[in-house]
């Protein structure tokens, strides 16, 4: 349990930081306004000066979780490779924090956070002369697949941590590489979507030549 906040007043960022810490240490069900207030050494009502409601707080935690997506250098990557890279990177972001995919899934559905996959794929598409509409469709397929798959995956992790399974649970991102169950399925599904995008691009070019 985190120690109560040390000093007098805290910023919006302090609140979001502590929320992410609470998420990592105790999971989404424990991320309540009341627990968060206690962890900050403050009354629950104080949080409503910094955020209008809990969903807004959760959205700002979602943004922190997805922030590393912004640093990914996609350069002049071919489209199909960009699809796989950006999908894998998003999965890493989600697996890096407990219950992150459930949280991000709802922030995305509520439209309180914008898709980092979309921005990335649109960039690459522009550089390579691929129609934006195709990139948008691929981005939607990739994003929903990654979030849904990882949600399911993270749920299994949580069940394992509760002692229902005996496999060693690696909580770090390393688990996302090879040994995690379903890891291969994840990569293969992403490859499938990448293939599908290439076919759509080819069809588009044939039709507009």
């Amino acid at each position: 349990m985190p120690a109560p906040g040390t000093s007098l007043r805290r910023s919006r960022d302090d609140v979001a930081d502590m929320a992410l810490r609470l998420l990592d240490e105790q999971g989404l069900p424990a991320l309540t306004m009341r627990h968060l207030a206690t962890a900050l050494g403050v009354q629950p009502s104080a949080l409503y000066w910094h955020f209008p409601n809990k969903q807004a707080l959760l959205a700002s935690v979602s943004e922190r979780i997805l922030a590393p997506m912004g640093e990914e250098p996609l350069g002049g990557m071919p489209m199909h490779e960009a699809v796989r890279t950006v999908g894998a990177r998003m999965r890493e972001c989600l697996l890096a924090h407990r219950d992150a995919s459930e949280l991000v899934s709802s922030s995305l559905a509520l439209g309180l956070v914008s898709s980092p996959v979309r921005a990335k794929l649109l960039d690459v598409a522009r550089l390579r002369g691929v129609p934006a509409s195709l990139a948008e469709v691929a981005a939607e397929a990739v994003m929903h697949f990654v979030v849904g798959f990882t949600f399911h995956e993270q749920q299994r992790l949580a069940a394992g941590q509760l002692g229902l399974l005996e496999e060693p649970v690696s909580s770090s991102v390393e688990g996302a590489r090879a040994d995690s169950p379903g890891g291969d399925d994840f990569t293969e599904a992403l490859t499938m979507i990448a293939h599908g995008l290439e076919v759509s691009i080819a069809q588009y070019r044939n039709h507009h030549r």
Copy 2:
């Protein structure tokens, strides 16, 4: 508001039926054990004789929502057509009930309900000599995409019903056909996944000839 239950004792099915009705009429946030009990003319604690907890209740509602998937005749459909058909059908199931995708999304993630897409696609794959592993991967991509996309879509519907948008909101399944925003993106993304599956099948056959 539904009238209190008429007679003496109710079955597990009665409870699930009323829960689905409550979901349709008032949405997921109003589907509480206490509201449900009131609608049935019963004390909240009575529900725990029929279901061990709320998640189990919600899982059984999810099964009802997905039940129409079982009736879809896929016959000797080619694989890529099966992907599109089963995806579109699942979306119809989800759009047929208020907040259904959010509910089903969590039941699926918790592993309390099995993917209807998986069973369907494995059937078709067997009939057409497509390796089951490829069908499984495609099923995962399709299912997560459909649930995620429809979740997002249904959230927009809910926002529209709350008066934030001015477009006419068709709550029936008709809206899923053509006029709903994003309907084209949905079909195109499914087509993309179908294409990708065909490429993977071709590669597999090349490699194993």
